[in-house]
């Protein structure tokens, strides 16, 4: 038997997955990673990319466009003044491309056969060895695994987590859709020239496209597994991988949907945009050119009967708004 035995005092504060000695900590991470991997195989709280109407809501993207051009003759006074030249204006594009689907029929919680199916731990209060119940499994395994998944860091231990990136390819993750969920655009200042007056009003350039990814780690096999009490054989056995998977796969897939129902034990994962929770990946910045309309006032002399003016988007980029995919926990 090469498994490990948890020790802890469930009546005390700060219950966590405490390994017997620090040297065993890597095996804790291996086990939690396995649980997250199991979640990634059946992500019961799922995000998808749609063209319109995504239920996480609408976010707007704003850019500037040129004002309409003017043309006057010399008899009319030549170039129209900046005050008499139409201002630049904002145009916005709405994105509602992320939809969340919470499974209506997640896997049932695993059966605690003979009340001895789950790992054993050392009950420090009584000094006995005791098989875990559901709450113990939550405290020692599920909650720490969910903490990784909901952390916002797309590590191998965050299997099944969704996150945003400006890249369409992220190591360890799978692109949910080639359709970006948000595109930041700005007026292309270089495209507006005096010689081009009257320029087309809207001449945008894409600054960043933002994509939705899901962490999909490769399967890992923990080097050592938890020990459980084999009720049939009256023996301590190290869990087989299949037994571990049969227990903790359905357990995490169920709890992220249904939660624990207990205050202080937050297991439900729900995503939102710009709400509460941890930031999942890159913040989506909506930027624009911040120069005033008057600063973009430009003239073009064509002939004495054609003095043209137009105001162009100009200035330095500034952030109009930031949109953030977040994941929040509740009980």
């Amino acid at each position: 038997m090469a498994g490990w035995l948890l020790q802890g005092n469930l009546t005390g504060a700060g219950v966590a997955l405490d390994m017997p000695i620090t040297a065993l900590d890597p095996y804790e991470d291996q086990v939690l990673r396995r649980i997250a991997y199991l979640y990634s195989l059946n992500t019961t709280v799922e995000l998808s990319v749609v063209n319109t109407g995504g239920n996480l809501g609408t976010i707007s993207e704003v850019r500037q466009q040129a004002g309409a051009s003017t043309s006057q003759t010399s008899a009319q006074g030549g170039f129209a003044s900046a005050a008499n030249t139409p201002n630049i204006s904002s145009i916005s594009t709405n994105y509602a491309r992320i939809s969340q689907t919470v499974s209506s029929s997640p896997p049932a919680l695993p059966t605690d056969t003979d009340l001895h199916r789950f790992p054993i731990y050392m009950n420090a209060t009584a000094g006995d060895l005791q098989s875990m119940d559901y709450q113990d499994c939550i405290d020692y395994f599920i909650q720490p695994a969910i903490a990784y998944i909901q952390s916002g860091s797309p590590s191998v231990q965050a299997g099944g987590a969704y996150h945003i990136s400006t890249s369409s390819s992220v190591a360890g993750s799978t692109l949910v859709s080639a359709t970006p969920v948000f595109i930041d655009t700005r007026a292309n200042a270089a495209a507006y020239t005096s010689g081009g007056i009257g320029e087309a009003l809207d001449q945008p350039v894409n600054i960043n496209s933002y994509y939705l990814h899901k962490v999909t780690p490769a399967a890992n096999t923990p080097q050592f597994m938890p020990v459980y009490w084999n009720y049939s054989n009256s023996s301590f056995d190290e869990m087989s991988l299949s037994l571990f998977d049969d227990i903790f796969g359905p357990m995490i897939q169920n709890y992220v949907v249904n939660g624990s129902g207990e205050v202080g034990t937050d297991l439900k994962i729900r995503y939102n945009i710009n709400g509460a929770g941890n930031t999942m990946g890159t913040v989506m910045a909506d930027t624009y050119l911040s120069g005033s309309s008057a600063s973009g006032y430009t003239t073009r002399f064509v002939s004495t009967s054609d003095y043209r003016t137009q105001e162009f988007p100009n200035g330095t980029p500034a952030t109009n708004a930031s949109h953030t995919l977040k994941s929040a926990l509740s009980n």
Binding site: A126, Q130, S131
Partner: protein
């Protein structure tokens, strides 16, 4: 004067009071030994997930 107890020529209790060559024990002897170990109360208790004791293993201290 010491005098070992022998069965035929095989000692079963030596002059040094060592039990030797016991091939088996009867129920009374087993119960006596078990009671002695139990009385020492060095035990490992296994409880199910409801906290109910389901197995108790007695032993001797290291």
């Amino acid at each position: 004067m010491n005098m070992a107890i022998k069965v035929s020529t095989t000692p079963v209790i030596t002059n040094a009071l060592e039990l030797q060559n016991i091939a088996t024990t009867d129920g009374t002897t087993q119960a006596t030994i078990q009671a002695a170990v139990r009385a020492a109360d060095h035990k490992l208790i296994i409880r199910d997930s409801a906290g109910t004791e389901t197995f108790r293993l007695y032993g001797v201290p290291a």
